[in-house]
């Protein structure tokens, strides 16, 4: 009886641990990282980082004229006060000519 119970529990843990494919719709980061974005046309670009309260905590690109095509930027996990942000969910918003181009989501942890 004990061995059967042990088998069930062990099998459950083993299968559960492999059940999810961990393809979350966000990236998990622990340190600064680069990201890319694609501009369909030339325009004035703004890139901001928002926390889970939709509050802007850092501006990565401010009113910068950029051409169309692939571009990249980076975030060092610092806020505007140059302090490392708390663990949590963060969002990077890319705007072109004040119109939202895309929102990227990141889980920042230690």
């Amino acid at each position: 009886m004990k061995s059967a119970l042990l088998f069930v529990v062990t099998a459950g843990i083993l299968v559960l641990s492999g059940c999810t494919d961990a393809t979350f719709p966000f990236e998990q980061v622990t340190s600064g990282f680069d990201f890319s974005y694609n501009l369909p046309e030339a325009g004035v670009v703004d890139i901001t980082v928002l926390n889970c309260y939709m509050s802007s905590i850092r501006t990565l690109v401010s009113s910068e004229q950029q051409g169309s095509g692939q571009h990249s930027s980076s975030w060092d996990l610092m806020d505007t006060d140059e302090e490392r942000v708390e663990n949590g969910l963060y969002y990077i918003r890319v705007k072109i000519d004040d119109l939202l181009l895309e929102t990227k989501m990141y889980e920042v942890s230690s």
Binding site: C19, Q28, L50, C52, Y53, M54, G88, Y91
Partner: protein, 239 residues
Amino acid sequence: MIALMLLLCALGQPEIQEEEHDTFSPGFRFGPCFIASFPSMQDEKDFAGMNSEAGLELDLGTVAWGGSIEFLGDIGRKVRVRGSVGVLRLHGAYEDEYDPLSYILLGICTGGIGFLFGPEEEVVDLDDQALSIEAQAYYVLTRGSSVSLSIGAGPVYTSVRRQLDSPNTSTLGKGSGLGLVTSIRVDQESSTTLGCIPLKFALEAGYRFNSVTLDGEEADGFTLDFSGPVLKVGSYLGF
């Protein structure tokens, strides 16, 4: 719920008309209430929208469920007061489905127990809670031996918490604030015996004005807006 209240009123109406002038005696009652609320939660809706933009469909609930312990007292023929402590909870989540093969394997390996847990697991979990203390005064419109009908209003003090969990992180926001509740309620005046317990039932429908801003610089004015229609069903021990 409204139809039920109207039905209760209609059933009690003949007795109300006949016995309106001789049925009052001071008393009080207390008991649990079940609450369903339809909060505005505009900031949470915007937050869910931002998640959608990022490709994560956060399934935010539209109904906040909860319960309360209420104390109701008659302090005059036409005046009734109520005090309560209650909790409301609104839930949102993004769930990831298990790989079907793994899920079946899990079910088999655990002798079927694994199937009890469903094929999803919560990846992002949003939990908004409001702990409220309400004090309300009512004007009794009609009172009979069966039911009474009253309207009232009063302040509500609410302490809220917002917890957002992801696989490796947990973010907690807190705040508190004052609001206002207005409602109409139907109270049973005669007791219904359940076993040996004499119970009095009540229905209440109202509107809650209760927007609470979270504390802290990082929250930056984010509000949990529990404002919206509220429905309550209560069962009381009457004395």
